[in-house]
Amino acid sequence: MEEERTIAAISTPIGVGGISVIRLSGKNALKIANKVFNTTLKIEKIEPRKMYLGNFIAQSFKEKCMMVWFKAPNSYTGEDVVEFQCHGGTVIANGILETLIENGAVLAGPGEFTKQAFVNGKLTLDEAEGVMDMINAESESEVRAGYNLMQGSLSKEINNLQNELTKMIAKIEVTLDYPENDYEEQTASETIDGLQHIKEKLEHILKTSQTGQIVKNGSKILILGKPNVGKSSLLNAILNFERAIVTSIKGTTRDILEETYTYKGVKFVLTDTAGLHEANDVVEKIGIEKAKKAVNFADVILLVIDASEPLTQEDEEILELVKNKKTIVVKNKTDLKNVVNLNKYNFKHIVEISALNGQGVEDLKNLIYNLVIDENIINSNLMLTNMRHVEAIKKALKFLDECLKGLNAGITLDVVSIDLKNLWMALGEITGNNNNEEIINEIFSGFCVGK
């Protein structure tokens, strides 16, 4: 039911500002929040209009953030509203939004928060017309943005998949509606094969959507390593300019330093956890715990090791932490000596550089790029960055799995077609083609039926 769903969206401008606000509105707002937000208080104890600090548990990271609950009807929309305030930038905000959707929220439609506000009597009658104008304006700009994304090969790809599905459904439906015609029946195994093919393609597209996000929002690169292995000089070498990192941190309350650079047109966000440790000289205290959290945010980890010395206990702890992550081991100070032995870790990517004289830095940048970006994807323009499209594809994949489940359980095709049509409609949300008449047209144009 439209007005009983709980909607979610990022309420602050995307990619700008120090913090992001993600808003949830609806009957289940608090319930959903409770599933993903850990605080010391029990949910029953949470009071409206109070800020709570806690951990937001997203799929791929944990984020320390603030939560506030506005109890209905004393909220912007007049419904229960929960807002999360997290670090700025798009990766975390998107991750939080995605997690909320996975837990039962629905991506808010254009102007939907304001619409709800009006519906619940939070806005005056005079404002109604403005609301109505806004809905279509926002929707159109979204459609336009979506249309731009859909230009080119992605649009073709999804259209093709939907067409394949149209043919498959028509072949099933024609034998149901015209059982007396002598058409060959679509078999379950044929259907399974066809669906597997569509599934692979959709999963591929979904994978590329993550690449798309990276291109849009930048990829997170984390520099790790014990003190004095040359992290700061590596940062400087990559950024290609001299910078007194320690100075830039002194006196700030930020616990993570971020710098961005662009390589082959892609934005990279370099994060150095080191500065804080060294500046406060509390490495032992913060130690492995701090690193653990940072590791989960990163797309790629640069683990810096002093090549001139054997591994210490601290090195080993960090190596243990990142061994299952996308990691590049950077052996620094190779201009001095190269005595360190990493054989027992099996790292795929080990580079040797000298941050001091810049040797090997260019190769390192290239390697980072290759690890993050699948060039095939960039070049084929198969990118999906629109959250709504991502949601539609995820929904499509869910229905597809339901189809396969039914078929494998021996359910007849006329019943499985319930999910087939749902799958077809989900793709239609992207292609804009969700008129059932299409399938009927396919029946009549593809098959000679009738008395």
Binding site: E180, D182, N436, C448, G450, K451
Partner: protein, 618 residues
């Protein structure tokens, strides 16, 4: 002779009969005006009722208290359940019907129905004053007064029958056409369109060589159309299957210039799903043969209908074509095949009650709305009749939703999307088809039919008994039995025997166990009739899918139940896009749900409408 009625139904085809019966049974003094008493409920095309989705419609008409199912059962001479190897949703009853018996029986019912007056005469003018219906004037000079009129003129409006070069102003089967009413409809603001359909040859049974043809026999233990039929009809005839061949195709392809469909003689829209043999051959040239079914028209005649051989070729070519088919080498053609063109209206001008938007009390049903098929016509007839009666009684209209009945899908499609060719019902058109089955039509609709006063006490009693038995059986599903009791059955059906007790429901859930097996193993269930057992079996076996569809239905309910006032001027709602404004003003949907299905109305427009509706409340 009285001249004042509550309602007048124009036309006595399948729509007209149901409309008139619904009105009369709901207590309205009703006049059924027909061009010819001998054409009442005439099966002008194939001697068959039912088939995929159409069988569903018949069961629904029956569940509402209509007549088609009862008479179709009476006149059945062969019956089969189509799709019996598939799921329960798409199983459809198709019967061969004795067309003479069907006509006679329906005429008998009409003549014996209280409040119903049947009269031969041609409607010429519909009298309207101040946007309200007043009555009907006939060509013969009579004036009949009524506050409601249901137009069910079928394919008779200014109809032309076309055979080769010969175009005759005639109704189907040589019956007279209705040439005068179109002008009156135009005057009332209706958009008149021209559609086309056709029918094949009838041949003399004794001149067919059946020896090498494939027999098609009926089936005995299957559901009937009517929930009231106690003794299922017997299979007393056989049908036969033969094929066209390359020679037949050659005759047609060599003479396409003589085919009215291809030489420009026929310009009107024909149905894609019921193509003439010439269009099948042209459009699907890769097929070397097409099926032809030979179906007896009635027990009292030797005429045989050649299904699949619809054409408007000149008669001498029809003869050549028939001769080229195996079994028909010496066939004597008793009636020629023909195409028929006729006037119909644009169904988008109707509300889902089937009332014309501009005139209170004026309803349309059947082929005049641009549909095809007896069942589609009858389904509209009963709804138009019901709504005309409710209108006369000053009661709320009766509209079935898409999740309630195929009838709902049919009428929603007609009044929301419209149609550019004769519309045929298909199971693919119903998004909730697992819910909309033949077997549960009574469970879906009989209470509603009773509430509006159409379902008889007798039918209602049968219905209540079924409900009671279903509930009783449902209770027993929870009973847990010991593995020992079912061991033999499970082993025979190659199901793994559970180690602990198992409920009746879980037994029935097993894919290899049917409800028949269950009854075999637990004789105490033998007391339940077959239709009750089947209902439970479907409920249990498809529980997951039914639940899934129910969620979707629930989700759509809010929109479906949100009514839109019919006096909204959508042009004045600023937030709507221009296309949406125009479409909404044209169609004037009754609910937000109907609005959302109009092509050209976007989800954002629906959101705007939601907000707009709230401003009205304030």
């Amino acid at each position: 002779m009285i001249n004042n009625f509550d309602a007048i139904v124009i036309g006595s085809g399948h729509a007209g009969c149901e409309a008139a019966l619904a009105l009369a049974r709901m207590g309205q003094q009703t006049l059924l005006l027909t061009l010819n008493l001998d054409s009442i409920a005439f099966l002008a095309c194939n001697p068959s009722i039912g088939g995929t989705a159409k069988g569903h419609l018949v069961c629904e008409i029956d569940a509402l208290g209509g007549e088609m199912g009862i008479i179709a059962d009476k006149a059945t001479i062969q019956r089969r359940m189509l799709n019996s190897s598939k799921g329960p949703a798409v199983q459809s009853l198709r019967t061969q019907t004795d067309k003479i018996m069907y006509h006679t029986e329906m005429k008998k019912v009409l003549e014996n129905t209280k409040n119903l007056f049947v009269k031969q005469g041609e409607a010429k003018n519909i009298i309207v004053k101040n946007g309200k219906v007043q009555g009907v004037k006939t060509l013969q000079g009579d004036t009949f007064k009524a506050k409601a009129v249901v137009v069910c003129t079928g394919v008779y409006l200014k109809s032309d029958v076309i055979i080769g070069k010969v175009r005759t102003n005639s109704g189907p089967n040589g019956f007279a056409p209705a040439n005068h009413l179109t002008a009156s409809l135009k005057k009332l603001g209706l958009t008149i369109r021209r559609f086309k359909t056709g029918t094949p040859v009838r041949v003399h049974s004794d001149t067919i060589d059946y020896s090498e043809l494939t027999e098609q026999c009926g089936e005995d233990d299957i559901q009937t159309f009517s929930f009231m039929t106690k003794t299922p009809p017997k299979n007393v005839i056989k049908c036969y299957l033969t094929y066209t061949n390359p020679h037949t195709h050659e005759i047609i392809l060599n003479n396409l210039d003589k085919a009215p469909m291809y030489n420009g003689e026929i310009k009107s829209e024909g149905p894609r799903y019921c193509p003439s043999i010439e269009s099948k051959i042209v459009r699907f040239s890769d097929k070397s043969q097409h099926q032809l079914f030979l179906e007896p028209e009635a027990l009292s005649t030797k005429e045989v209908y050649v299904q699949g051989f619809s054409t408007s070729m000149p008669t001498y070519l029809q003869h050549e074509m028939v001769k080229s088919v195996k079994g028909l080498e010496n066939a004597h053609i008793m009636r020629d095949a023909y195409a028929i063109e006729y006037d119909c209206i644009d169904s988008l001008q109707l509300y889902p009650t089937l009332q014309y938007k501009n005139i209170e009390g004026l309803y349309f049903a059947g082929q005049v709305n641009g549909t095809s098929g007896y069942e589609e016509a009858a389904a509209q007839g009963i709804i138009a009749g019901i709504n005309a009666a409710l209108f006369l009684q000053n009661k709320e209209p009766f509209v079935l939703k898409r999740n309630e009945a195929y009838i709902g899908v049919l009428i929603d499609d007609l009044t929301t999307k419209g149609t550019n060719e004769p519309y045929r019902m298909m199971t693919s058109r119903a998004e909730y088809r697992l819910q909309l089955r033949q077997d549960n039509a009574d469970l879906r609709l009989t209470q509603k039919g009773y509430d509006i006063g159409l379902v008889s006490k007798e039918r209602y009693k049968v219905f209540l008994k079924k409900i009671k038995q279903i509930n009783e059986f449902k209770e027993q599903l929870k009973t847990v039995v010991s593995p020992k009791k079912i061991e033999k059955m499970f082993n025979e059906k190659s199901e793994t025997v559970p180690k602990v007790g198992i409920s009746i429901k879980d037994i029935l859930k097993r894919s290899n166990i049917t409800v028949e097996d269950l009854v075999e193993c637990f004789p105490e269930f033998k007391k339940y009739p077959y239709n009750v057992l089947k209902e439970i079996e479907i409920d249990v076996k498809y529980e997951g899918y039914l639940a899934k569809q129910n969620i979707q239905i629930e989700q759509s309910k809010k929109q479906e139940n949100t009514e839109l006032p019919d006096d909204i001027d959508y042009k004045k709602i600023k937030g709507l896009r221009l296309e949406a404004q125009q479409k909404l003003n044209q169609i004037k949907p009754l609910t937000l749900g109907q609005a959302s299905r109009i092509s050209g109305v976007s989800p954002a427009d629906i959101t705007v409408l939601t907000v707009y509706l709230k401003t009205l409340v304030k």
